[in-house]
Symmetry: D2
Subunit: 367 residues, 4 copies
Amino acid sequence: MYGSTFGNIFRITTWGESHGRGIGVVVDGCPAGLSLCEEDIQAFLDRRKPGQSRFTTKRKEADQVEILSGVFEGKTTGHPISLMVANTDQRSHDYSEIANCYRPGHADLNYDRKYGFRDYRGGGRSSGRETIGRVAAGAIAAKLLKELGITVSAYTYSIGPVQINRANFSKEEISNNALYMPDTQAAQAAQEYLDKCMRETNSSGGMVECEITGVPAGIGEPAFEKLDAALAKAMFSIGAVKGFEIGEGMEAARLTGLENNDAYRMDTEGQIMKKTNHSGGITGGISDGAPILFRAAFKPTPSIAAPQETVNRQGEEIEIRIKGRHDPIIVPRAVVVVESMAALVILDAMLGSMTTRLDKIKEFFDK
Amino acid sequence: MYGSTFGNIFRITTWGESHGRGIGVVVDGCPAGLSLCEEDIQAFLDRRKPGQSRFTTKRKEADQVEILSGVFEGKTTGHPISLMVANTDQRSHDYSEIANCYRPGHADLNYDRKYGFRDYRGGGRSSGRETIGRVAAGAIAAKLLKELGITVSAYTYSIGPVQINRANFSKEEISNNALYMPDTQAAQAAQEYLDKCMRETNSSGGMVECEITGVPAGIGEPAFEKLDAALAKAMFSIGAVKGFEIGEGMEAARLTGLENNDAYRMDTEGQIMKKTNHSGGITGGISDGAPILFRAAFKPTPSIAAPQETVNRQGEEIEIRIKGRHDPIIVPRAVVVVESMAALVILDAMLGSMTTRLDKIKEFFDK
Amino acid sequence: MYGSTFGNIFRITTWGESHGRGIGVVVDGCPAGLSLCEEDIQAFLDRRKPGQSRFTTKRKEADQVEILSGVFEGKTTGHPISLMVANTDQRSHDYSEIANCYRPGHADLNYDRKYGFRDYRGGGRSSGRETIGRVAAGAIAAKLLKELGITVSAYTYSIGPVQINRANFSKEEISNNALYMPDTQAAQAAQEYLDKCMRETNSSGGMVECEITGVPAGIGEPAFEKLDAALAKAMFSIGAVKGFEIGEGMEAARLTGLENNDAYRMDTEGQIMKKTNHSGGITGGISDGAPILFRAAFKPTPSIAAPQETVNRQGEEIEIRIKGRHDPIIVPRAVVVVESMAALVILDAMLGSMTTRLDKIKEFFDK
Amino acid sequence: MYGSTFGNIFRITTWGESHGRGIGVVVDGCPAGLSLCEEDIQAFLDRRKPGQSRFTTKRKEADQVEILSGVFEGKTTGHPISLMVANTDQRSHDYSEIANCYRPGHADLNYDRKYGFRDYRGGGRSSGRETIGRVAAGAIAAKLLKELGITVSAYTYSIGPVQINRANFSKEEISNNALYMPDTQAAQAAQEYLDKCMRETNSSGGMVECEITGVPAGIGEPAFEKLDAALAKAMFSIGAVKGFEIGEGMEAARLTGLENNDAYRMDTEGQIMKKTNHSGGITGGISDGAPILFRAAFKPTPSIAAPQETVNRQGEEIEIRIKGRHDPIIVPRAVVVVESMAALVILDAMLGSMTTRLDKIKEFFDK
């Protein structure tokens, strides 16, 4: 079955694998009239580009995006926007080992079972490069959201055992360190931890947190299209995510109603506000006007050079050491992927909310 | 926008609110030839029925299901199966207080903002009664999965600070205690904790865990229709869920690759197997043949009798004490909801996987 | 696979078969705030009710609709509206003959091949009664469209060889005759033709025409969601439709560009208008501001008492005479079905068009 | 709203406009294991390429397709197949006239109303070049169908007043004449008629007929996903289609039940067969085992050099003569588009039918 399309109204379809001719995305349902150029998108892509620090793979991926359709005289036309990034750094690796065995923590075996065979070069469709399409589309969504007063901001929340301290939180710091952590001290400690992992030919997991501000109350749909359900699916659609939580998250299970409920008060401008934000900005699946705050947990990079037990296609038990240029941690490069997926979800929900009330529909059509 | 339809192939649409004439679901895409009677469905519904212990509301809800269509001579016909449960216990409450104010932890304010007004009786569409349709449909999905050798089993994992001890795990125990906990000791401690919460007119959160066995490797789609992404959305579509994790879950963020990767070995029957199951049965979004194991965290019941600060529709700050018959904890009654949603996801993914390989398609059509 | 859901935003799901407990529909995505009561819907259903003239079956079907959810204090809440009509006239027919053979012009054989068996009572899901759900939902769509200044009006265009004469067209006449024809003389001739068919235990085909006014230019989407494509699908989803045409329709194939193009001129109020309407109100798949005008051709009722050749389930060639109370023509009762499906398509396209332009989206959200 | 995605399981998304960098399609949901190379697709594209006779535009469009993803070692991988054709013949036309006025029979005005502006170069997204993506995807669908024993064959049925004579029908003749007509005499008469149209700076409409053989009985879904409803939508999604009919089509409205019903008999091999095929291979929305036969009516090319009345963006009434290289008739180049869209519909319905019966599902999963 298909699986590469995401979104109800602002709808994207990604394509491409690690070693094909390119990677891309078609954005359908983008409103007409948004100023858009390749630089808008490139800025997002550059944030996931490898080779920017010693904690990301040394593979060289230029990842230059091209707008193939849907923009005329600098504005979106309302028609599909096709974006493509050519695959350039395709060394003629020797893939014979990977082709013949099942790497622990990867989907190799599952792919063989599912499709009968697989494109083993660089992970094929399960490669992290698949996220290029998401980020390119997310750049458009984020730009459009800005026009509606909404900002989406993701950053590294933890790396292995090192977690940010909210007391030290600094938005500016996010782009200052190679790990996109909003806490200088934590970033330092995390780098030391990662260096240790690398020395041990091992890898580390971590968490990304994302804050979305400016979403009015009332966005999201009851039942199955809850806003947090859409965010959860979006995050879990990113390869290595193993957990997702919003507001108090998993911790809410340990709280009481009195601790977890957000009381309502009036603010100084006569608007209703919540005194706290245990909900993380979504209550009953619908935005409650407070900032949306969620976290996604990423597992450690499965490709490690340390020896591991596995089997080959002949059913022989073997030992494997994954060679090649792999990130010791997925999280820093995943930050912009999380931000992109979140932007796609929020924009789609905003557009979807326009048909909720008859009075507003009549106003829209001047009736 | 619509939000009450779930599933790609086995597709359900739920309807109904707390105080309308009834609650129901239409199941479309159910294969023909499954034996089905009202008892099959009633057995599931009875597990979510209130009034079975002192930890669930004393409201009386008979919740008798009726099959209105789609079954002929005891078998599903392949056409939509319409199921309905009449609302019976609709006391003529005085809803004037709830109508006029915004209950903390509820979606009242969001609904007013979104729709301009709301059906305030018993929570309307955001009532827990909405899950009746899911459970009724889930009963069908679970019965169908059994024919494919797949079982789905959910239970209470924790209540407030009380968590099961895997060393004491007993499947039989699940249906033996009012809390559906698979650990006698934990169940006892949890009951004491809940009694305390109730005395304090407070409520508790908790977690549900779910194990799915028999799913072959290769189920789920890459990119956006990953099997764990579909499960995450399904769980977050349940009202009070604030966190979802699979396998090592949030904890995976703290592990290293060596700790988290599952090595492959050959079993005694010459089949490839994983030595461990850190992945929770899903790798790269696709089932890996091991049991699927996930947890969902539920927030504490927001309706509590303890006084809380809120505002009314006139913008006045007031204090509210929620009267009425409310569960002190959502988790025990949510167990069967989790099981149902999981069954819907797995069945849908199984059916979706039938069109993956040309060789199997040709075989299917005898070509 | 599922097949009982229709619409992208205003989305309906029908259920029920001829001899189950009832027939119904769930309307999801209906905006909040529309005044709605059972009489609004009943008025539409009464137009398809049989037994109102000698040209419709004598079966008695009360077809009383019940609103089960989604309406509170006389207004739609924005949540699913569940509508149900109980099946009442279920005589204990002897269905043994139909159960065992394949009626020419019916889907009996196809159903057996597809599902392995079928609910043979009264045609099961392929019964004309399936359209009850569509008409009930269409009544809501039509009421909502009226609030947007749009009217949908269908009528009988032809019966067998008898066609209306546009020179005699009278809107009032439509509800004056049993055949819903807007031309007194044609209606008279058609009745004589039908009497002849009935005397010969035969049946007749015919056409329904539908006019939609008030749709602004710009509704419908390019490529696959063209407005006429959606109408075509909607009409062909009605059981007996074998042809669909818009504007000049099939005849356009015989015209030249000069004959078929609609020239633009300015009207007296300074608005652009088309001098002619060969397009039938849709150009390039998008409404062009002129009234939308289309026709659907219905085949003759396949159930006739005249002897026909067929085979039974044992593969024996037999002769069959279909007993029972069958309409000699489908068209008059299909008029309201066409009107309902058209209303569903137009409303869905109107709602879908709200997210097309960034400037209007910003205005909507006050940005 | 989006509108560029088509299909439920075998799902395509087209992108591109006349004068962007290219035109393309993403095919998602294609089963793994189909042999596929660029030549397979090019053969289809070459059939719609202009410049092959005096009846098609002299524009030079190389239309070389490139497979960008989804194929590995000559076989489809089960992942999205991205296909692209670069736009090469983009003369720097003077578009100032077209930019400023509304061409009769085109969607120019509708686009301006809908989007606020339009890419006026060569028709933008409403250009016939949009069909390149459909044909490229259709080539894949047709190749896959062949593996299932199904062939799809379209040809020109009529041009203006000239219609094929079934007595002269010759399949070989289809590719022998520039008009793709299966009747030598009709092809000759049609060419004379077209020469006359061209001399008069006028254009002609026409019809395409399509025959599909090998579809087993039981394909298509009741209610809204009827096989003929899907075909109708597919055909009407092609720019210039104004009518669609299947089997007896519009003519069925004039027939009686005795004339239109297809009697069943046993064939010499003991199989049930229909004596006639008035239904055109689909009864009750489901394939009945006979060949599927339908026709689509195309309006005359709206772009003609003869003078026409129109208005410009300033609201001035003007006269326009459309310059440039335009086909005097759309039909011959549309033949392969019809064939492609039909292949997409049939393949999608075949795949969709695999989940209909529990017994076959159990067999598929070896249970």
